[in-house]
Amino acid sequence: MIGRKHIPHYAMVLPFMALFATFFLYPIASGLYYSFFDWNASSRARFVGFDNYQHIVASRDFHDAMINLAAYVSITVPLGITVAFGLALLVDSFKGVWAHFFRTIFFVPVVLPAFLAATIWRWIYAPNFGLLNMILGWMGVPSVSFLNNTGTMLYALIAVDVWVSAGFNMVIILAGLKNIPGHYYEAARLDGATKLQQVIYITIPMLYPVLFFVVTYGFISALQVFDIPWLLTGSSFAAYGGRQRALLFPVMDMMGRGFGGLHFGQASAYGFILTMVIVLITAGLFAFGRGRFAQ
């Protein structure tokens, strides 16, 4: 029974829940509806069933974007977290002021908006006068067009990505490290365990929940990568993805179909396809994670 005494509670949650229903639940429902229509926002919508989904899955762009995504995610997530873990161990091995100093400095790239990281690195990668090519020039290496060479583009993106995200994950892992009781290490040391053994047999198992969070979160955000490749390739809704679409990713493809091609039905369907992929991967991670917990 909903009694009168509950009215103040509902009054207090109403503003948030109303916003939430309007700008979160309704868009999802309407997106699902649009995804079955051929609609360009001005003409009449035409019901097409699953055509949008079929059209996307069969398209070349989708195929390229998914292949790029698979390569990108399988490198950037493990690499990024390994770097973050290394940085966290490094910071943790210092004490007092120095630990604080290094933690602060390693976090600075996180503070910059991703769009800025991308625009700064675009110039660092620039041919001839960019910082990186300047350094290569000192070593006698001819100028490389990092963002225009299909062999280097993906790695150029991953480098920026790791630069941006390492500090973020480092801070989360550091908080986890602080929660591992010191006497575990002491006992291991008395047993003669080396530093590497301590990391493998104490740190990693004890950090398991934190690492699991960092990995899952890393996958979910990497699967939706947009800002950095969009800006690194100087994309616009007219032309995106860079040379030979080597940095075309699903969210870019989706945005391009929606705001470049005005195929809003297709763009909505794209969102659901992508969500399915993300849900499947996350579910896989959880299944794998639970198996490890049980051990």
């Binding site: 509670h9 829940m17 700008f23 625009t119 630069w163 301590q198 947009f226 945005m255």
Partner: protein
């Protein structure tokens, strides 16, 4: 996992607990550790340092003469900043981004108060729905939310930028976590003293949650300042460009801006978050560590 015979090799007075350092003396490991840490400092900071150097250098000096490793001309830098502020709409973008960030911070705290401290019919269901939304990727909502915003006639307006982002489950989740720890006896006492429900929220929950609110406000500011995709689609009119879009404009392949001008635009966009970080460093780092370890 241990070998008893190794025990004799370990000095029991070695490093304090929780540290990975075994011997306090200057070992190969200590040197290596410092070398890696300093190298990581350079990698983390140099791109930003380089951006500053490019701004504070005479335009057009070839890199072979001035490799931009440190600032060489303060006057030239300030002249570029003055020029950008005077000749472009950068200041308006500043205002838009600032308003966008500050307005987004509001909202959420009333609902968090209810979810954290009270029981009422339907609460569990609402809470579950909101929490599930944390796992729904933005990719699926961005296009239909745009379509809704367009239908409301909010394209190129401040409310179009801000309002859809107010239904942030992330902020709500963080505040709930914090408000759960508030002392309920005080709440009861205040209620017995005749405080109304809204007074409890205003004079009890809000002041006691000041820390969490400030942390949330800072994180929201940083995130909103860095939001690129949403303004890109919902505010395509230059009248309401955010800083991110202005930076994107300077970086567009056809803008024909020199690296000096682009870097000045980048630097101006980087300043607010960097200054914020310098002031609220501890809160930012701890806020992120908290959201990770509890997630």
């Amino acid at each position: 996992m241990s070998d008893a015979s190794v025990i004799t090799n370990v000095e029991p007075t070695a490093a304090p607990s929780g540290s990975f350092v075994r011997r306090p003396a200057l070992s190969v490991w200590t040197i290596l550790k410092w070398a890696i840490a300093l190298w990581a400092v350079v990698v983390a900071v140099f791109p930003i340092w380089w951006m500053i150097n490019v701004v504070f250098a005479q335009s057009g000096e070839p890199v072979s003469i001035n490799p931009r490793l440190y600032p060489t001309s303060l006057a030239a830098g300030f002249e570029k900043i003055r020029m950008i502020l005077a000749e472009t709409d950068y200041l308006r973008a500043y205002y838009v981004s600032l308003a966008y960030s500050l307005l987004t911070i509001a909202g959420g705290s009333m609902a968090a108060f209810e979810f954290a401290l009270f029981e009422f019919p339907g609460k569990r269901l609402m809470f579950a729905v909101v929490m599930v939304s944390l796992m729904v990727p933005t990719a699926v909502t961005i296009v239909p939310t745009y379509l809704l915003t367009a239908k409301l006639g909010w394209l190129n307006t401040m409310q179009g930028l801000v309002v859809p982002g107010l239904a942030s489950a992330f902020g709500l989740f963080m505040l709930i976590q914090f408000m759960r720890t508030l002392p309920r006896e005080m709440l009861e006492a205040a209620r017995l003293d005749g405080a109304t429900h809204f007074q409890l929220y205003l004079y009890f929950a809000l002041p006691l949650s000041r820390n969490a609110l400030v942390t949330l406000a800072i994180l929201t500011f940083m995130r909103t300042w860095g939001n690129f995709a949403w303004p890109l689609i919902v505010a395509p009119n230059p009248e309401i460009y955010t800083v991110g879009q202005v930076v994107g404009l300077f970086n567009a392949p056809l803008s024909h801006q020199t690296v000096d001008v682009v870097m000045t635009a980048n630097l101006l966009a980087a300043l607010p978050p960097l200054i914020f970080f310098l002031i609220f460093q501890r809160k930012i780092v701890e806020g992120i560590a908290m959201s990770g370890s509890k997630g």
